[in-house]
Amino acid sequence: MYPFGKGISRFVPFLLLLIPLALYVLFYFGPSVMTVIYSFTNITNLPGSGMKFIGLDNYHDVFFSGNSGERVDSIIRTLYFMFIVTVVQNGIALLVAVIINQKLKGDYFFRAVFFLPVVLGVAVVALVWSMMFDPLSGPVNQLYQALFGYKDMFFGSFSHAFGYIIFVQIWMYMGYSMLIFLAGLQSVPKELYEAGYIDGTTKWQSFRHITFSLIAPSFTVNMLLSIIGAMSTFDIILATTDGRFNTRTMAYDVYKETFRGSLEMGLPSALSVVQFLIILVFVIVAVKQMRKREVEY
């Protein structure tokens, strides 16, 4: 029962709840729904112009119009980005988490250092690596030359720029995934390892069957975060190459066509919906796979 008065004052909680509700509907839920609707129209960004429903034309244009080759390239690049980031980032993160979890001296320091890039933010991280990767005077190029006698253009290379962006993305968020794994590892009861030890399991067996099964929930969280993150973020791209040198992804395309492209809003809307559907498919597949592995104990 509501204990704070009767009559009119009964409505106070509802009135206050209207504030977050209104912000959410106005800035996120509404625009999200409108974007889906726009994707079926010929809406433009010219003030006062009307809009007409044109069915699936925008979706057709995403894949089969004059310049859709680039857009399809972006979609393929996005999927590539997602796979590499998800696999490599979580692989390294799991390895580091397992290592740190065996009570190394200085584990808190290691944790803190690996998480630092998230605290520093994209703008700083991108600039730091732009300096490291400067083609003329950057230390990495000097290293390349000393080791292999070869120089790279890094963020200015048509064939390599995207690879370096993937590297920066993983460098930045590896620590985050590691923390999530570490939390999972710390919740595994020690007795299980002792029981396994008595039964004569090898190191690998105990990792494969005890650790790996019991941290399945953190695996699920990490997979979802990397899939959704890789599919929808483009801030590192924006801050390093700004989409040049074959580094555009779907999320970047939506941004580019909304803010700096033509006045047509239908096409980027359709692209957003395609992006959403791809995320949805991968999330459902990942969750299904992961749920199978989660065990009760």
């Binding site: 008065g5 959410y24 409108m34 580091v96 630092l116 994209v122 300096m131």
Partner: protein
């Protein structure tokens, strides 16, 4: 279980290798920031020989960083406080069933994490608001702050969970004594939620302070730039003058690193809470 000695050595080797990859770039930036441009061109990597303290002064004044810092503080401070308050307005009645359809509202708010990209229509909305009202919407401080104020995100979910652990009898006792709803929220509930508020503040503040895409989209006037956008502009201004840019990086990241070393534990725990609850 006993660890073999070689496994231990291998573990330290892997971690050491990674530490190099994480710390060396920052040390190099620190080193470069003290070099003159000529020294940098002649010897980009070696230890600085002639320390140029003036670099920092020049970068600070020419980069207009004081202005950017104030903007970032304003956006982060106001939007974080507002986010906490509106999250409380949402979380408390939902957790307590004090409004109709609480369960439905909770699910509707949860949906915010899984919506299709709202960018296109959001942009149109911001433009329309600017045209209609002038003081809010595209390229206004208020517009950006409202956009960043959200009562439906991770903070809302953390709050809802935490409020359920606060005894309902407290509500009844306070109500019996004639305490009003909003007074109860601010004077009784809020102080009880200190631990989860600390986490919420940190998560929200890091997110807004480091927001890069938002300002690039919605704050195109230099007077409104926060520090992230400022750093991007600084890059455009100085191109390959890396000693200057390194100063910019140090100016932006030093306060963060200092703060981080003091509240590291909370930040790490906060990030975890956010990820696991999400």
């Amino acid at each position: 279980m006993k660890q073999s000695k070689s496994a231990k050595v291998l573990s330290y080797a892997v971690v050491a290798l990674l530490l190099v990859l994480y710390i060396v770039p920052l040390l190099l930036v620190f080193n470069v920031s003290f070099k003159s441009f000529t020294e940098y061109l002649l010897n980009p990597i070696g230890l600085v020989s002639d320390i140029q303290w003036n670099n920092y002064k020049d970068a600070w004044t020419q980069g207009n960083f004081s202005n950017y810092f104030l903007n970032s503080l304003l956006y982060t401070g106001v939007a974080t406080v507002l986010t906490l308050i509106v999250s409380l307005f949402g979380a408390f009645p939902v957790a307590r069933n004090y409004v109709r359809w609480s369960g439905l509202i909770y699910l509707f708010f949860l949906l915010s994490q899984f919506l299709p990209n709202p960018m296109v229509a959001q942009f149109k909305l911001m433009l329309a608001m600017k045209q209609e009202f002038g003081f809010v919407g595209y390229d206004t401080r208020l517009g950006y702050i409202l956009l960043k104020t959200s009562g439906t995100g991770i903070v809302f979910m953390m709050f809802t969970g935490y409020i359920k652990s606060i005894s309902r009898e407290l509500d009844e006792a306070a109500g019996m004594d004639g305490c009003g709803y909003s007074r109860y929220l601010f004077q009784i509930v809020l102080p009880l939620m200190k631990p989860v508020i600390a986490t919420g503040v940190i998560l929200t503040a890091i997110g807004i302070w480091n927001d890069f895409v938002g300002p690039v989209m919605y704050l195109p006037s230099p007077a409104n730039y926060p520090i992230t956008f400022g750093l991007k502009e600084f890059r455009g201004q100085y191109g390959n003058n890396w000693p200057m840019l390194a100063c910019g990086i140090m100016i932006v990241s030093t306060p963060l690193i200092v703060l981080y070393t003091f509240i590291q534990k909370y930040i790490v725990d906060g990030a975890l809470a956010g990820a696991v609850k999400a």
